[in-house]
């Protein structure tokens, strides 16, 4: 069988300098990484306290999401997320307070006004497409967005995220094929955490890496260790440059740990060994990026404290805003099935 071109940078040769990133840049990434983890921890706290009905977490995926989204033009480009995209949407500009409004299903929830479950992010202002639950449907949407960008010559590119299990859906293959045919500016980010809920990788596919799919559709496939923020950044930056040159899409697979159960409804001890779970813990991107930044002398204790207290403040304010916000009014539940005003006299 043929060997795909899997590009995995070894840790040493990737540094802020080698990537031309300033200390401010990497500390900004670090801020988003820690912010995402703090928001996520609070989401679980809200669930345990009974305020939130459900949590679907991004813990373990944050490094890859911060790194890849940071490589975009965050004002101009599109993000087509999935339910684990906490770090991605924060990095794209969504404030922590909005995540909590979504988490509690309050009226000001900017993604759905309390209509969708937690984890269904979307926000036109930040060019984040509205998320649904059926997996992999969004991959085609990203291709369509990129097609429109090409026809309208807007220079926008689209980055979409999904899990490795979701690549089993036909929509994934159809999207890769369409994007490759038209050389569209799409980055397909597959966050491979080894499980589709309880189903391990070997029962999902007969290949070790999803990136191996890329060649068969006519695009490069790259696999990087998603626990290394800068590895994810470097690979996404290359993919974005390729997209802007009009050379087409890239399938970027980021290997990530799943640090929580699938969701608050799942008990992963049922299907994962303690060793397996422990092995994932050791790959925590927060821990790894902290170590790296300290090693490079970029993250001092003072800076870390400053960043964490800033985050703490945002989390507390955000939670407070969300808790105090009103629940949606049932009188609004029939709105926006169609553009308003609706035609009177017709059914439904």
């Amino acid at each position: 069988m043929s060997v795909p071109d899997i590009k995995t940078e070894s840790r040493e040769d990737v540094t802020p300098k080698s990537l031309g990133l300033s200390d401010a840049d990497v500390l900004d990434m670090y801020y988003y990484l820690r912010l995402a983890r703090a928001v996520d921890d609070r989401m679980w706290a809200l669930q345990r306290s009974g305020q939130a009905a459900f949590v679907i977490s991004g813990q373990g995926h944050e490094g890859a999401q911060v790194g890849t989204v940071y490589a975009l033009n965050r004002e101009k480009d599109w993000l087509v997320p999935f339910y684990r995209s906490v770090a991605a949407v924060l990095t794209k500009g969504m404030p922590a307070a909005e995540i909590f409004l979504i988490q509690l299903g309050k009226a000001p929830d900017p993604s759905s006004g309390g209509r969708q479950m937690p984890g269904h992010y979307g926000h036109r202002h930040y060019k984040i497409l509205s998320t649904s639950s059926p997996v992999a449907t969004q991959v085609l949407h990203a291709a369509g967005i990129a097609y429109a960008a090409k026809v309208r010559q807007t220079g926008e590119i689209a980055l979409t995220e999904l899990g490795e299990g979701s690549t089993s859906e036909g929509d994934f293959a159809e999207a890769l094929n369409f994007a490759a045919i038209h050389r569209l500016g799409v980055i397909f980010v597959v966050e491979n955490n080894g499980y589709a809920i309880s189903v391990p990788l070997r029962k999902q596919m007969a290949v070790p890496n999803v990136a191996m799919r890329a060649a068969g559709f006519g695009m490069p496939g790259v696999t990087v260790d998603g626990s290394h923020v800068l590895h994810a950044y470097a690979a996404a930056r290359d993919a974005a440059a390729r997209a802007r040159r009009g050379e087409g899409p890239t399938l970027l697979e980021v290997m990530v740990p799943r640090l929580t159960a699938h969701s608050s409804d799942d008990r992963q001890e049922k299907y994962r060994t303690p060793d397996d779970i422990a092995h994932d813990r050791a790959r925590d991107p927060v821990h790894m990026f902290t170590e790296e930044l300290r090693g490079w002398g970029i993250l001092t204790e003072a800076r870390e404290k400053e960043i964490l207290s800033r985050i703490q403040h945002e989390i507390d304010i955000g939670t407070e805003i969300a808790e105090e916000a009103a629940l949606p009014d049932p009188a609004t539940a029939t709105r926006y099935v169609y553009a308003e005003p609706p035609e009177p006299g017709f059914r439904p």
């Binding site: 599109w78 929830d109 900017p110 993604s111 759905s112 006004g113 209509r115 969708q116 269904h120 979307g122 926000h123 036109r124 497409l129 509205s130 649904s132 639950s133 059926p134 449907t137 991959v139 085609l140 949407h141 990203a142 291709a143 369509g144 967005i145 990129a146 097609y147 429109a148 960008a149 090409k150 026809v151 309208r152 807007t154 926008e156 689209a158 036909g170 929509d171 159809e174 999207a175 094929n177 369409f178 045919i181 709105r335 926006y336 099935v337 169609y338 553009a339 308003e340 035609e343 006299g345 017709f346 059914r347 439904p348």
Partner: protein, 327 residues
């Protein structure tokens, strides 16, 4: 006013709309150089180029899924599904994504799109080239559905569908393409989505139909008239939203209702019309609201005697109408 075929009216609407608005993109299987398997998109590729008249890979979920992305990013996609029978792989994209985008985002996003779907039997297409699909999509909030029967409506409703701020499924009956001609108003006329049309006034019963069946119903009305039975024939035209006002007003006049569709009966769209009349027009009724529909078998069979058995025609409609009047 010009006398045109149903097929040409659809073609003209596409051509005029694409000339009017550069955001409109036609996409589907064989819509390019071939001009579509029925010739509806003939000449568009040459006129507007391959970026706006797009031959897609053979994948319906892809066609609708990328169309959503195009709509979100400033284009107005007009996807063509080659045959209604092949729209099913796109069911999830239409139901879960296209129809729900505005509602689920609380109006942050919209999905303007006109999905053209050639449908219907009587064309020797058998189980997989004859299907009617309105029943599946009528149940999907967020969608609009039109099913024109005349060339003038075919043109005017397609323009309305393309200009609508929400996704509209446009059902064009294959058998009407070349078999039906009619006057089409000149200029940029738009037929609003919603209103039904009373095609023939009558006092003895109301026949509700759309698409090919509208023509069979009108022929049946001719036969009945010779027998002294005056049937009012209502062209439903828009499946969703349904013009309940016009439907009930007709039943109030005639006190009898016959609902006709080509699609199989059980769980079909006729049930919605009949149930609505029964519930909201109960006081008007002198006879049971009656459905005449295709038989409940898995599709129109191929062989001529079987296809003739399946398809409704003026004679079968007239017979059913006589029973309703005789009740």
């Amino acid at each position: 006013m010009a006398d045109k075929r149903y097929l040409d009216a659809i073609h003209d609407a596409l051509h005029e709309e694409m000339a009017r608005d550069g955001r409109i993109v036609v996409l589907g299987e064989d819509v390019g150089r071939k001009g579509g398997v029925f010739g509806v998109t003939e000449g568009l590729y040459e006129a507007y180029g391959e970026a706006r008249v797009l031959d897609t890979p053979l994948a319906e979920s892809c066609i609708i899924g990328v169309a959503l992305g195009m709509a979100v990013n400033g284009l107005i996609p007009v996807p063509e599904i080659q045959f209604a029978d092949f729209i099913h792989p796109a069911f999830d994209q239409i139901l879960s994504e296209v129809a729900r985008l505005r509602y689920r985002s609380n109006n942050d996003y919209a999905c303007p799109m006109a999905i053209r779907v050639p449908y219907g039997g009587g064309v020797h297409g058998a189980l997989y080239h004859s299907q009617s699909i309105e029943a599946f999509y009528a149940h999907v909030p967020g969608l609009k559905i039109v099913a024109p029967a005349t060339p003038d409506d075919a043109k005017g409703l397609l323009k309305a569908a393309i200009r609508d701020p929400d996704p509209v499924m446009y059902l064009e009956h294959k058998k009407l393409y070349r078999s039906v001609r009619g006057d089409v108003r000149d200029g940029d006329h738009v037929v609003p989505i919603g209103p039904a049309a009373v095609r023939r006034p009558g006092r003895d019963l109301s026949i509700f139909a759309y698409g090919l069946m509208l023509h069979e119903a009108l022929a049946a009305a001719e036969t009945l008239a010779k027998e002294g039975v005056e049937a009012e024939v209502v062209d439903v035209r828009t499946i969703k939203p349904l013009d309940v006002t016009t439907i009930l007003a007709s039943v109030e006049r005639t006190n009898r209702a016959l609902i006709v569709h080509e699609d199989n009966r059980f769980g079909g769209f006729g049930a919605e019309i009949a149930a609505t009349i029964a519930e909201e027009g109960f006081g008007f009724l002198d006879a049971p609201p009656t459905r005449l529909c295709g038989p409940d078998v898995p599709g129109v069979p191929f062989s001529t005697p079987l296809e003739n058995w399946f398809m409704l025609d003026a004679e079968k409609i007239a017979a059913a109408a006589r029973n309703v009047v005789a009740y």
